[in-house]
Symmetry: C2
Amino acid sequence: MSQNPGANPSASDIAQLLQERYGASQHYEVLDNAILRHLLQHRSVRAFAPTALPPHALETLVAAAQSGSSSSNLQVWSVVAIQDAAHKNQLAIWANNQDFVRQAPLFLVWLVDLSRDRLVADAPEGVTIDGTDYLESVVLGAIDAAIAAQNAVLAAESLGLGAVYAGAIRSHVRAIAEDLKLPPYVFPVFGTAIGYPAEGLVSHIRPRLPQPAVLHSEYYDASAQPQAAQRYDQALDAFWKKQHIDHPLWTRHLATRLGNVAQKGDARYELREILLELGFPLR
Amino acid sequence: MSQNPGANPSASDIAQLLQERYGASQHYEVLDNAILRHLLQHRSVRAFAPTALPPHALETLVAAAQSGSSSSNLQVWSVVAIQDAAHKNQLAIWANNQDFVRQAPLFLVWLVDLSRDRLVADAPEGVTIDGTDYLESVVLGAIDAAIAAQNAVLAAESLGLGAVYAGAIRSHVRAIAEDLKLPPYVFPVFGTAIGYPAEGLVSHIRPRLPQPAVLHSEYYDASAQPQAAQRYDQALDAFWKKQHIDHPLWTRHLATRLGNVAQKGDARYELREILLELGFPLR
């Protein structure tokens, strides 16, 4: 099924995929088919070959993206395909200077786009389009954009391409919005870099939290969290050690990533002010 | 590939899938493989048989969900599986009384969950976990939850199940948060109903906007929108007429759905106030 032998060495065995996904200490029984193996084989690719994409790849990714669900069929997302080298270099700088944006032949900037619906809505007299003016619609747009992008990522992986999300572009929303000439009610919500994996690159499936940490039955129950976090620290630590990568424990990573952000000056934490500047009333 | 003959009658032919997705007047060249056909065959299922899910279906969906990308590996989502009939009935009422929530054997409530990371973060002295306190983290959580849910939906469809998103639960966030016993920094962002399609149900692929409406090259360009909207009105109108369903044009639907919401009293437009109540500082 998969045409992705480089990035996807073990997609033929669901048990192996599960073990990589959860570490050796967790055991789950799951069903098996080629679609499930494709979903479970995902690993982000962060180094790309300069090889061009196959013909019609972009149309294919967009068709996959548009095939995802859209809330009330509002379709409040757009995507900008960046393929020009100089432009891609500029975006790479804004994506916290991550090289994979520069290397990948295609960088997609996904937009929450409430502008189109406002532009084309056929509003009878007395009807004002105000549904776009609320936080609700920004959340709805982020959901729609993520569903679309995930379909595009899975489509890319089915073509032997690798992909990685770049949420880091939210650190430079102002600059990117201006550069891409975005109208009011539109903002860049994340990017995806897409291309053939760099030669010789081995990308690994990153373990995730044990299922009891994320799955609740009927009601939310946090009692599993301390043990789950402890086990996950071990599983992820084993993952890094196997690759000879020095990495803090996950629970410490959380503190590094989410701690004292008020002192860091990262503009991603100005998103509220920036969206107001970009014309979102955020009621 | 697909084990979903009921909901997925035409997944063997990519040209047919494309024609259904865009209507007869739009022509795109796309690549073809079984994964792409699976992505393109999606149509929401809104009526379910009472048949139970196969064993291990829930574990399988969660494994697929967790295999999606997660921003900085923060994994800031959780999911509550509602299978109890009375509980599901209550959720159906809160999902604007949509019967499919009641019918489906499984209703998943997806949560933006910033609570777990706050709980288990190993913060050294002097480090305060404040990264969860910004609009940025709510947007990040919605993206992570949607990526996860889309993988679960695709996994369900690969098992012959049907699925539909229920964003309508955002009209009753307060009641659902209380019912599910959500701690601060957690809110229900959307649901998915999952089950075998009702006997005899034929679900159709809904057309989407022409690609030039959503895909931009290097820079945003709105000039294609008026013509794209006009063509899409025609394509979607033909889709409804073929099913003998009376439905307003899409551009009018936009005005109905997004117009004069301030007068509608729908609590989804109180999301900002509600998130503040639920402990999100939303800085």
